[in-house]
Subunit: 151 residues, 2 copies
């Protein structure tokens, strides 16, 4: 299961995708609209900002906005930032490899080989799906444009 933190982050990013190119959005608005505890959301957004996903403006008229086009932000990145590596076991992580201490021989560990497939399968979806793609999936359902940009 992904953490609440990550779910909050994804919802906030979807909200910001809707408002892409419409200027900064207040933390307070995001918190209210997406039902996220405001102070907690602050930390999440800051984290995403420090990883280059978001940019912010302080002072009056400030707020948060996407640093890149929604089609350029994929969910794999976001989950890695907020939740850590995708891999089910650290010994198959591409981004945060760490040996299992109890493992005798990594290359002959059947568990590891299966988990490698799982990681691959997850990454194939998450690293190829952008915020824009998530909007499109909804659009296909609703037959009504979700975002104010061209895909």
């Amino acid at each position: 299961m992904i953490s609440s933190k990550t779910k909050y982050g994804l919802h906030a990013l979807m909200h910001l995708s809707h408002k892409y190119n419409k200027g900064p959005v207040l933390i307070a608005e995001l918190a209210r609209e997406e039902k996220i505890p405001k102070k907690f959301l602050e930390l999440i957004l800051l984290d995403l900002k420090n990883h280059g996903i978001l940019e912010s403006k302080k002072g009056k008229g400030g707020g948060y906005q996407l640093a890149r086009h929604p089609s350029e932000v994929n969910i794999g990145q976001v989950i890695r930032i907020l939740d850590g590596p995708l891999a089910p076991v650290s010994c198959v992580s591409q981004t945060a490899y760490k040996r299992c201490n109890e493992c005798k021989d990594e290359h002959h560990c059947g568990i590891r080989l299966v988990m490698k497939d799982v990681r691959e399968a997850m990454a194939n979806i998450l690293d190829r799906t952008s915020l824009a793609d998530m909007g499109v999936r909804i659009k296909n359902f609703k037959s009504d444009s979700m975002f104010n940009f061209q895909i």
Copy 2:
């Protein structure tokens, strides 16, 4: 990431697969060989027994053994028992569905639709891979590398 508990459980089950049809194996042996804290392992094995994966015998000459052939025990089952549902979010779980409280409209949630694909991808691997398959993967890996040297 899966928990240590689950990793321990899978290692113990692999050990028991090797010893299938050779009589019960002591918790103490499993703990020693697989480097698992013994008391913790007791709880794990008991849990797997209560879910029909293992069977046990008390008293002298007792121990644990698989309740079914290794090809009849898949990893999806094991992970669900020890770690809970496979689904990345509860609103796409087949075995433990639960609505997201903050979600406005589940059927139009793009996050949910992507996570549904992820769940599907994971389940397709984990529910189709048995303990026996994990053993086979090791075997194939070994003969492949031997093959590479010979040709």
